[in-house]
Symmetry: C2
Subunit: 137 residues, 2 copies
C-alpha cells in the first residue's frame, strides 16, 4: 500500500491519483506496458494527455525505463535497479515474445560487452531478444 507513496516521495514528486494509479499498474504487471495499454486501463479516469505527461515524468525521475522496439511502439517497464532521476542503469536484457507479444525484463541477464571499432565511444547498450517466452513454451 505504502510502496506507491514511497516510490513517488523518494523522487520528490507530488502524489496524485493519476500517478498512483499508473504506478500501481506497473507494479501489478509482470511485463512491460505500451502506452496504449496504459491508456486503455485508465482512460475512464484520466485524460490522454495526463498519461503522456505521467510517463514522461516517470522516465525522467528514474521510475520507469523505456524499451526499444522495431515496430514503433514505445514500451515502458519499472526500474528495479535503483535508477535515479536523469540517470538510468537498467543493465539487463529485454525479451519480446513472438507468440503472446509480451515484453519482459530479464533482470538476471546482464547486457554483454560490445567492442566498438576505433573512434566510437559507447554510452549505452540496449539488447532486445525475441523468441518464445517461458509462458508460451
Amino acid at each position: 500500500m505504502d510502496k506507491l507513496l514511497d516510490i513517488l516521495k523518494k523522487r520528490h514528486i507530488s502524489v496524485t491519483e493519476g500517478r498512483k494509479k499508473i504506478l500501481e499498474l506497473f507494479l501489478k504487471s509482470p511485463g512491460a506496458l505500451a502506452h496504449a495499454d496504459i491508456e486503455r486501463s485508465t482512460s475512464a479516469n484520466f485524460d490522454r494527455v495526463t498519461v503522456y505527461r505521467t510517463l514522461q515524468t516517470f522516465v525522467e525521475k528514474g521510475i520507469i525505463h523505456n524499451i526499444p522496439t522495431a515496430d514503433n511502439a514505445i514500451l515502458y517497464a519499472l526500474c528495479k535497479d535503483n535508477c535515479e532521476a536523469g540517470h538510468h542503469h537498467d543493465n539487463h536484457v529485454h525479451f519480446i515474445c513472438d507468440n503472446c507479444d509480451s515484453t519482459i525484463c530479464l533482470e538476471k541477464v546482464a547486457v554483454p560487452e560490445v567492442k566498438l571499432p576505433k573512434g566510437f565511444t559507447k554510452k549505452q547498450t540496449d539488447v532486445v531478444v525475441s523468441g518464445i517466452c517461458i509462458e508460451c513454451k
Copy 2:
C-alpha cells in the same frame, strides 16, 4: 546502374520509378534512414502512401531491415547480409550517435551471444549501442 534492377529483380518484384528512387537513396546513404528522411527526399515525386508501402515491401522482401529505437522513430537500413524474403539475418550491432543523431550499421561487429533463462527460446537478438560516432569524435 544495374545494381538497382538486380536487387529488385532478385526479389521478383516489379521495377517502378518509386522503388528505384528509394532504393537509390539507401545505396547512397552511409547510415540508416528514418521514414521522415525518405519522405522528405521523395515527396516531390511520390505520395506518402507509396513510401509507406515501398518500405513495407522492402522489409518483407529482405532488401532493408529496421532498427529498434527507444524513441518511436522507425529506422531502416540496407541489408548487406544476403537477407531473403521473410527471413532476415543481419547479425550486426547498430550504433546511434547522441550528437549527430545518425544511425550506423556496424557490419563488422557481430551480435554477442546472450544466454537466456531456462524455458525461453531465442529467435533474434538486436543490439543497439548509443554514444558518439567516429565522425563526431
